[in-house]
Symmetry: C2
């Protein structure tokens, strides 16, 4: 293979509060030929996900931050250009931690092959990828929705929330979504089949949510935090479960919000209602990945699990799209089309 210019987006500076486009920088390097056990891929779709805000920060978290000058991390669906790994061959489609760049070279063991016949390859970053599996393992292991129970989830038109509500329905529970526009709410009810969806920007959001959850809330799948959590807390039923997979409302916070301090309310609610509040990452359930993927794929094939993707075009569009994601500007799973799918 000839020397191939590889455009990359690196972290230029650690954001304070909301990331700015100048916190990112486009650089050029050269695609690296694969060594033994490695695979070289062309990036087709780059996934943009809220967790990336954490990687831009030096604060201690479950994963190491991206270094200043380092390529932004991210899941990528790519086409294999060259392989020194026995189970993957040129022309295969794979998903892995490719990062924000046009080409990536990774150990074959870190990549998952995608069956492009079974579902569009982009879904390996959404409904059939990390977000879909996050919904699946969070509900299977912590939320455990029972028939007739009420499951509430925010960012309900998003990559995780949309799957949460649909699985809840499949399990016989009632699904109430929360989203950031009336258009998104309509989609959540009309297309995804949730029982109800409330716009958290409405001034009477709390009252609407209470009405939509007239039997209380048995599972609150927490992916936003902020005022939504506050509105949900008094509606939680005895023995409710709160899987926590994200708090996007706080990722840009530079300090704790003003008081009063609701800590005693949270602890007292946990006690009086015997709540289970439990954080998790999809990686904690790596042994359930195959089962989750098979089940999700089956549901997608059967038309029981729908999804919506929101594409932006070109690697250079990634920073602005990511900044928008943290403000809820996307509508569906946000993906960057780095290079055309059908290109050779």
């Amino acid at each position: 293979m000839m020397t191939q210019v590889n455009r990359q987006i690196v972290l230029a500076s650690r954001p304070v509060g909301e990331p700015k486009s100048t916190d990112f920088k486009m650089v050029e390097s050269v695609a690296r030929e694969p060594e033994t056990g490695e695979v070289l891929c062309r990036s087709i779709y780059l996934s943009l996900d809220p967790y990336m805000r954490g990687r831009m920060s030096a604060a201690k978290s479950y994963a190491k931050p991206v270094e200043i000058g380092g390529v932004m991390e991210g899941g990528v669906v790519g086409e294999v250009l060259s392989s020194n790994f026995s189970d993957i061959k040129t022309g295969d489609f794979v998903v892995g931690a490719g990062g924000w760049q046009e080409y990536f070279t990774l150990p074959g063991t870190s990549l998952r092959k995608i069956d492009s016949e079974r579902a569009p390859i982009s879904t390996a970053l959404g409904v059939l990828g990390m977000p879909g599996m996050t919904a699946y393992v969070g509900l299977s292991n912590i939320g455990k929705p029972q028939p007739g129970e009420t499951v509430a989830v925010a960012a309900a038109s998003g990559a995780v929330g949309s799957v949460v509500g649909q699985i809840a329905k499949i399990k016989g529970a009632r699904a109430v979504g929360i989203a950031g526009s009336s258009e998104k709410c309509r989609f959540v009810v009309d297309e995804l089949g949730f029982d109800d969806c409330i716009n958290h920007r409405d001034p009477d959001f709390k009252e609407q949510l209470q009405k939509a959850c007239s039997d209380g809330i048995d599972v609150y799948f927490e992916n936003v935090g902020g005022p939504v959590f506050k509105a949900v807390l008094p509606l939680l039923n005895q023995f409710a479960r709160v899987p926590v997979c994200g708090v996007i409302a706080h990722y840009n916070d530079t300090a704790l919000p003003e008081g009063p301090d609701a800590t005693p309310l949270i602890l007292r609610s946990a006690l009086v209602k015997r709540l289970t509040i439990r954080g998790f990452l999809v990686f904690d359930y790596v042994d359930q990945e195959a089962e989750a993927l098979e089940q999700l794929t089956q549901w997608v094939s059967d038309g029981r699990l729908k999804y919506r993707e929101d594409f932006v075009s070109g690697l250079e569009a990634a920073p602005e799209a990511f900044i928008g994601l943290l403000k809820g500007k996307n509508f569906g799973k946000l993906l960057v089309e780095v290079s055309p799918y059908d290109k050779a």
Copy 2:
């Protein structure tokens, strides 16, 4: 039986903030003869426990509040004076929800017989009663301490905390207590065998706690809330468990404390560290009661589980003792000696 005057302490008014002695009132009624299936008892020991503050309040909780003018609820060890229940006979010692009064009449099915040969009957309200079982089921079902892990517990010289730390030691974990005086801390380490105990009234409490938990905290048995919770939160390890059985620091609160609001910190910590924060009541595990009691009794017999009781004398002493309990004035399981044990 002759007509027997029964002194009772009733709820005179709902306290605002700290209960006052005028929130209680001593009244006299007449001991009621047992009907079919019922048992009449003379109260020997009345248990005073933090949960009673909740019963004095009209706020919604897991149990109904005591009515104004109603007898204060409470666990009591009594001697049976007269029984119309087949499994219980005159002279037996029993424990049940007798309330703050000198005599009580209850269905036999709601009483548990005490074997006075195996342990002092007062222990049926402490280490071998509700507090001891709270520690046991909270650790068995939620805390699950593993050998080498660190278990932290506040009110460590109290009825629940003292058992939590000693079970942690039995399970091979490290036990770090938190208590409200240096005298209590010495007792917790020297008598109960905790590895360390920190006085939360010391100005450098946070630093001391951090030093005592140099490997972090894997189980924090939450029974106080307040500043202790705040000090513990940053020390919690990944996958730490936080069984919540009480928040005594907040029972007298009339409003939420001033900010900042730590809610985002709690949720973010739950996520990043994959914490499990879970409220529970001993009554949720009623099916484990027999097993818990047998195990605790065995440990007491073997000298592996020690306890300390703090007696006050006479029913009239109960209100002041209870008010002091909420401020940590007691030292060990607080009991009211309502009538002498050896009286016929």
